[in-house]
């Protein structure tokens, strides 16, 4: 697994996260749940920015960034604020795991990117009823 391959997997995850957050946002009411809507909108923006950063990083390395799929499976149902929070939390937890893995597979500036992204996902998870973890992104230590 080369660092470029690891970045490609991170980009694939960000494509999916961006898509899923789009669906989550569409299911969130700005008037009924303004706080949740703001959190979803902020998360969407942050995932888009990370996606663009990864795309640029891969191009800098001479790699062709992996394209987004036409569609992704979206958690269902998304009828209530609790559904929305659960779906968003699942996205962030998956991103934590992805970036912990990318940290392991990379070094220097690529690892720096992944460290920052792991921290961002962990903090965003708190906005969606996530509780603080002892080892975010590392499931094998999570039961400690």
């Amino acid at each position: 697994m080369s660092p470029v391959d690891a970045l490609q997997r991170a980009l694939a995850a960000e494509h999916a996260a961006t898509y899923v957050y789009g669906a989550i946002g569409a299911a969130t009411s700005v008037s009924a749940t303004p706080g949740l809507f703001a959190s979803v909108a902020a998360a969407y923006g942050e995932h888009r920015a990370r996606r663009d950063l990864l795309t640029a990083r891969l191009r800098d390395r001479g790699a062709e960034p992996v394209a987004a799929d036409a569609a992704y499976a979206v958690p269902e149902p998304l009828r209530s604020p609790a559904d929305v929070s659960a779906a968003a939390l699942a996205v962030e937890r998956a991103c934590e795991e992805t970036y912990a893995w990318v940290v392991e597979q990379t070094s220097r500036e690529d690892r720096q990117l992944a460290v920052t992204a792991l921290t961002s996902a962990a903090v965003r998870a708190l906005a969606f009823r996530g509780s603080p973890e002892i080892f975010p992104g590392i499931g094998e230590h999570a039961d400690r």
Partner: protein
């Protein structure tokens, strides 16, 4: 890129390069949104090392990581000592800091076999001052953990330290230290 070397240390199991993480890719190929992809193959399990490893060899990497772990453990232990002191005689502060203290203890337990000795810390002032001082120390520790994650020669150690940095960021974001 070479696999990271096992460390010549009696430290915790996490430093033996066994902590290989499975990647998770969101929502690929119509899978559930958080379905993990299969664990990587044997080739995928190789972990990169930071800079000079290619020229100085596995022993140097192991030594560097061992020193890094000692430094990080000292940092965590010092911060924990401050957290414990801040809560001494301040019940509401102690309650607020329970989560972060538990996090530090778990992190130390993962890094070293016994808690490093630290100088006794005295935190003066009222509750707000104690929380402010603790918050500043946690912010500093969070930055140092993130830097250490990048500096680690082995991938698994880097991932552990990055996870610890993220955990402290979560504690800071909860508002318990505000």
């Amino acid at each position: 890129m070479p696999a990271s070397p096992p460390l010549r240390t009696s430290r915790r199991r996490v430093l033996t390069a066994s902590a290989v993480l499975a990647p998770v890719v969101l929502g690929t190929a119509g899978c559930d949104v958080v379905a993990p992809v299969p664990e990587p193959s044997g080739e995928d399990r190789s972990t990169p090392t930071a800079t000079p490893s290619d020229t100085t060899g596995a022993g140097a990497d192991a030594d560097a990581d061992e020193q890094l772990v000692e430094r990080v453990a000292d940092d965590v232990a010092r911060t924990l000592a401050l957290v414990e002191s801040a809560g001494r005689g301040r019940p509401s502060v102690r309650r607020s800091l329970r989560g972060v203290a538990r996090t530090h203890r778990a992190h130390l337990d993962e890094l070293v076999d016994s808690r490093p000795t630290t100088r006794r810390v005295r935190v003066g002032g009222d509750d707000a001052a104690a929380l402010r001082r603790t918050r500043t120390a946690e912010q500093r520790l969070q930055r140092r953990l993130a830097e250490a994650a990048v500096d680690a020669r082995s991938g698994p150690l880097g991932a552990l330290l990055a996870s610890m940095a993220a955990a402290i960021a979560q504690q800071l974001a909860t508002g318990a230290l505000a």
